[in-house]
């Protein structure tokens, strides 16, 4: 597979792992504790587990699986709001696939569908707009979800709906923005992070400049990383190199995709359609200032929050759930007191168990090798 296999070369990986080991041995602090490197983006978490990267890295590196899965950080109350919209007569509620299983306080969208709501899985907001065109007597609502990665496509769909004069389409906007979230994590008193793998897809839209505060103010290195396994390993190596040389900079490993200055047309669409919310609630992290966006007044007729009566009730996370600690890297997924017992992918209590990008679901399905046995302890094939 061209443009993918080049980044999955085993020999290059082993060379990089050796270089990472060498750098670790040259960093003084690793004699006392492992280096904590957070991958902010759920796509990285997925890649780390899928390719078994944790097991390849030296014990001196701890990967901390951060808050970058938009499905995982969705508060329960917002899922309840989705269900409430979906259950209104005449509504076709459209959503990305992995949001279907996120538990609300009463039910998930998948359960609402089973109960008779017209919930449909789409692959892009434009598919939802096409449904609105095909069903002029129905109200089609798109569940706008995700970071800056998916935000522009929702914005462009709203602009398209306006240009086409479509009246029966709206967006339930739950888009979130990554920078205030990283800041909130860095301000957390119980956090000990040595560096960040920067979110590649988000950076494709916003560029690298918005992260400068991480290096300048918090003195932590960040490397914007691609999603192939060699991308991840190379980015870890680049972070270690910065640590060893006493630097804290924002570097771009994913130059084949990420322009330093971001994507102007995408940013323009985002700026035109959305404005920052004063607060937005995150599952497990609480309310973070200016971390979510809403539809501007100019496009109010495409805003499901204004078109429909929405309960908007805050639902506290279950007490036993430790998603917040896991998101901040204070706990490893398996250290959560309900991991794999009360909370499993079959019956997720916390959202981190829902999406395959969630740290707990990824650990449950792909992980567990490093903590249970190192690969070299597996008996050789007969």
């Amino acid at each position: 597979m061209k443009f993918a296999d080049e980044f999955r070369d085993r020999d290059k990986a082993l060379t990089l792992v050796r270089e990472i080991e060498k750098l670790c041995s040259q960093i003084e602090v690793t004699k006392h504790r492992p280096l904590n490197i957070m991958e902010v983006c759920g796509g990285h978490t997925h890649s780390i587990f899928r390719y078994g990267l944790e097991g390849m890295l030296p014990a001196a590196i701890e990967l901390v699986h951060g808050p970058g899965c938009p499905v995982c950080v969705l508060p329960m109350g917002r899922v309840d709001d989705c269900v409430a919209i979906a259950e209104q007569p005449g509504v076709i509620f459209t959503t990305f696939g992995d949001a279907m299983r996120v538990p609300g306080s009463r039910k998930s969208l998948m359960q609402a569908k089973a109960d008779g709501a017209d919930v449909r899985m789409v692959y892009s907001p434009m598919d939802a707009l096409a449904l609105a065109r095909k069903n002029p007597d129905r109200e089609v609502v798109f569940f706008g979800l995700g970071f800056e990665t998916t935000m522009p496509s929702t914005a462009l769909t709203v602009l398209q709906a306006e240009a086409d004069g479509i009246e029966n389409f709206s967006v339930f906007c739950n888009h979130i923005t990554i920078v205030p979230t990283i800041k909130a994590i860095l301000d957390s008193p119980d956090l000990h992070l040595d560096g960040f793998l920067g979110p590649g897809h988000v950076s494709m839209v916003i560029g690298t400049a918005p992260y400068e505060f991480i290096a300048n103010f918090y003195r932590r290195p960040m490397v914007v990383a691609g999603f192939e396994p060699l991308d991840v390993l190379q980015s870890i190596w680049m972070i270690l190199k910065q640590i060893k040389e006493g630097r804290a900079e924002i570097e771009n490993q994913y130059t084949r995709i990420v322009p330093e200055a971001g994507n102007d047309p995408a940013l323009a669409a985002v700026a035109k359609v959305y404005e920052l919310r004063e607060f937005f609630e995150w599952r497990g992290l609480g309310s973070i200032d200016h971390s979510g966006v809403r539809v501007r007044d100019d496009y109010a007729r495409f805003d499901a929050e204004r078109k429909f009566a929405i309960p908007n009730i805050k639902i506290a996370d279950p007490k036993s759930c430790q998603c917040g600690e896991v998101l901040k890297g204070v706990l490893k997924p398996w250290q959560c007191k309900v991991f794999g017992t009360l909370c499993t992918p079959e019956m997720p209590l916390g959202a981190l168990m829902v999406s395959p990008e969630g740290a707990c679901a990824a650990y449950y399905q792909y992980g567990g090798v490093k903590r249970q046995e190192r690969p070299d302890t597996v008996p050789a094939a007969p």
Partner: protein, 354 residues
């Protein structure tokens, strides 16, 4: 209806374009539907009469083996017709394969259909003819059946249930709990074609692929394998849930750990690309012509060679081994050099947000 016994009778004709509730009412319309669409398609060389059951000579069955194999499966698929197959072909080969993986020679099938009011007769006829062609290809007879028509909206166009009877030859003892440490884990070819073909055929992805379902009857291949490697422990067809599910069932039932090698797991390039784009794992994609088998170490080469000689096993691979690790645990050595757990699938695979 029983299509096996005399005397012959005159078949009715159907003259409307779509199925109505009258076709399920038990009267002439229903008889005409059954005759015109099903009986005419499934007719064997033997004279037929409608009885409430098919009847078999026990002696003829007993001559072929010492145990009867009996299985049933329902088929619901959207769309009904897809590249490489249709619901009818699937219903025949699916049940034939459920018999075959136990080492049985498949002989007879029943066919029960639930039809949604409004279904086009021509489509139904295509399905019945496809079933008949599949049965001929597999060398089985469809000998009894049932037809129901339900109101529009009560089912999705057409549901088919096929039940199969076969005979297991003396000496064949396949069992999912029989895998021993050191056994080789083999597959007969490229994985995930059926699952990818169905997803692409649903038409709600803006993806064009030429992937076709691998839908095929596997008893001929299994027969060849069992002759070359008589010590084969178990064979399973990797349908819904893909090979990941089968491997987990094998590891759990046999109390062994199984480790497979990603680099040895055969995948079509198009399927790999398809999975990359949608964020799906090909190990969990459905197959309709693929088996996973466990073979003792001494017979691995013979089994592989026999499979590769057969058209349905040309891309056969040794994908891994059973190990004395944690019982029930399936792991994969990634082609990249890492290692990960391959767990059972939870629900269905849902495409990721980004």
């Amino acid at each position: 209806m029983n299509l096996m016994s005399p005397p012959p009778r005159k078949l009715g004709r159907i003259h409307v374009p779509a199925v109505t509730l009258a076709h399920g009412g038990g009267g002439k319309a229903m008889k005409d539907l059954i005759d015109d669409v099903f009986v005419s398609a499934f007719a064997s060389a033997e004279p037929q009469a409608l009885e409430d059951q098919a009847r078999f000579e026990l002696a003829a069955l007993a001559a072929q083996g010492d145990r009867l194999a009996f299985t049933t499966d329902s088929f619901v698929v959207d769309p009904l017709f897809f590249p490489g197959g249709d619901i009818g072909k699937l219903a025949v080969f699916g049940t034939v394969n459920d018999l075959a993986v136990g080492g049985a020679k498949p002989l007879y099938l029943s066919c029960a259909v639930v039809i949604e009011e409004g279904m086009k007769i021509d489509e139904l006829r295509r399905v019945a003819q496809s079933m008949a062609a599949a049965a001929r290809q597999a060398g089985v007879a469809i000998v009894t059946g049932d037809t129901k028509v339900v109101q529009r909206g009560a089912c999705d166009k057409l549901f088919i249930t096929t039940t199969g009877v076969g005979v297991i030859p003396v000496g064949i003892q396949l069992a999912i709990g029989a895998i021993r440490r050191g056994d080789g884990i083999l597959v007969n070819g490229l994985l995930g074609d059926h699952g990818a073909a169905i997803l692409a055929a649903r038409g709600d992805l803006a993806l064009e692929t030429e992937i076709e379902s691998d839908c095929a009857p596997l008893h001929g291949l299994i027969d060849v394998i069992l002759k070359a490697a008589p010590g084969t422990r178990t064979i399973r067809d990797a349908t819904r849930g893909g090979i990941a599910t089968v491997l987990n069932e094998m590891a759990e039932a046999s109390g062994v750990a199984i480790e497979i090698e990603e680099a040895a797991t055969p995948l079509r390039e198009e399927v790999r690309g398809f999975c990359e784009i949608l964020g799906l794992d090909p190990l969990y994609l459905a197959n309709e012509g693929k088996i996973v088998l466990a073979v003792p170490p001494a017979e691995i080469d013979a089994a592989l060679a026999a499979m590769r000689e057969h058209p349905l096993g040309a891309c056969a691979m040794l994908i891994g081994h059973a190990y004395p690790g944690e019982a029930g645990r399936v792991t994969m050595k990634t082609a990249f050099g890492g290692k990960r757990i391959v767990d059972m699938l939870v629900g269905e695979q849902l495409p990721r947000i980004c």
